[in-house]
Amino acid sequence: MAEYYLLGVEIATALLGLILLVMGLLVPKTHNKGIANIAIIGFIAIFGVNFLYAGTNASFLNGMYLIDPFSLFFKGLLLIAVFFTCLISKDYILEQGYGQGEYYSLVTFATLGMMIMVSAGDLITFYLGLELNTIAFVILVAFRKNCAKSTEAGIKYVLLSAMSSAVLLYGLSLVYGATKSVLLTEIAKIINQQGIQPLLLIGMIFTLAGFGFKVSAVPFHMWSPDVYEGAPTPITGFMSVASKAAAFAIFVRFFMIALAPVQETWVIVITALTVLTLVLGNLVAIPQTNIKRMLAYSSVGQAGFILLGMVAFSKLGVAAIMFHSLLYVFANMGAFGVATVVGKSIGSDQIKDYQGLWKRSPLMAAVMLICLLSLAGIPPLAGFVSKFYLFTAVIEQGHIWLAFIAIGMSMVSVYYYLIVAKAMYLGQPEEGAEPIKVPGSVQLALALCLIVLVFFGVYPTPFTNLVLDVATAFFPF
């Protein structure tokens, strides 16, 4: 007897997506302003449903689908991210004037795909979730009908992600061939018995390339700046936090659970990937003039920091990955919320157009500053705490040189984040520049980001305990 109640969160999300789609078709165009509100309320309700499952540690269909604290944590993270995305998108999509129902239902289905990814206990489920979220994201990236850049970003994303999925699948097929199983726990058992084989090794490297693409690790990051620049800004924010977090969740699950017995082998490749990602992501961010491209490279750099937790291969490493991914949601959604409003009202995403933003909108300038400083890891903001745990995790395992590189690159990141801060606070606005009006929903989102970043920076203890508990259940070493 299958226990369908375990799938409550996913069923609710799928229902919400269908309801939004039907409403978009049935409600006349003049009356459909409320669809965003329904999406927002729906996601708050689903977040509540997710809480009901707290402490569950079960599997569905003989381990194909896992409802454990780890996946519930990431589902909560995804729901927070999609909640912020809807808040930021509300006025943006209203001004576009089309596709209300389609937009929110696609966002919902993308979330559903990512939920399936983080809960996947076998390779087939994981692949389905991955493609559900990728296809939904492709359409969302190309959502700006009248903008050729948006279409271009969409076609680049679909071609490159299809290619990376093919590489990933080839790797998965070899892993299946080497272990005769698609269940992650079974794969771990069989590798434990028979040790490492050439077939498994090749499969692992192909899989790593596919995962590297999804989390935009160097040298598989080439798509992300282009796609981030062309996509609608709220979607850029959503992709940079949610799709990355979901990909990291399954990345961690696949390598730390299924391939745990061959950790000595993959840790070498992942260490190389980490160093490249940290150095290149942060250095290439410096010369960027477009804020979305700058944030794209910064998110490549952040992927490098999260990879540190995987190199550590410890309980603390997993906890730090979760901590950093969640705080990254608030910091990045705040920054992209500001970029959305500024981009819409000025009509440009250039950093030089942020000159004197604090005079035109003190709230947005303050939120942008706090978010960027948190991304850079300046105390007393939350980003400092999460980076501190990541660095501690790698130092604990004896990789001090890696921590040195990471700290150095963290300093580099302060430089390019402060370029924006300098423009906002020291630059003068152009003559006759009007104050920028911030829509109410975006104000709410920005205020929430600000409060969370400051609060968890000053008092991270409850949250640290939570992630440590989850990490202990997930990875008891």
Partner: protein, 102 residues
């Protein structure tokens, strides 16, 4: 006698041809064709592994069906975007789709 190695070799060759096509072709539709070849090589691998290693189970066959279905969905979206790009710029050459770069 055809063994599993023949199938795996066919899969590897097909994957290489697909990858070469996907990175070297200029037309977006040809790139998609290359990607389809790569996916089909995956299907050959999966079916061969299932047939020769675990003849009683059907996991690999099911995986293959999912890959085929998802690939169809992906191509539908990709072709729609190719049509849209063609309408905007009168080209489907991936080298000329280069407005986004630093």
């Amino acid at each position: 006698m055809i063994t599993i190695y023949h199938y795996l070799l066919l899969g590897a060759v097909l994957f290489s041809i697909g990858l070469y096509g996907a990175v070297s072709k200029k037309n977006a539709i040809a790139v998609l064709m290359g990607i389809e070849l790569m996916l089909n090589s995956v299907n050959i691998n999966l079916v061969a592994f299932n047939r020769f290693l675990t003849p009683d189970a059907v996991t690999g066959f099911i995986f293959t069906i999912f890959v085929i279905v998802v690939a169809a969905a992906e191509v539908a979206v990709a072709l729609a975007l190719v049509v849209k790009v063609y309408r905007e710029r009168l080209t489907s050459n991936v080298d000329e789709i280069d407005w986004l770069k630093w």
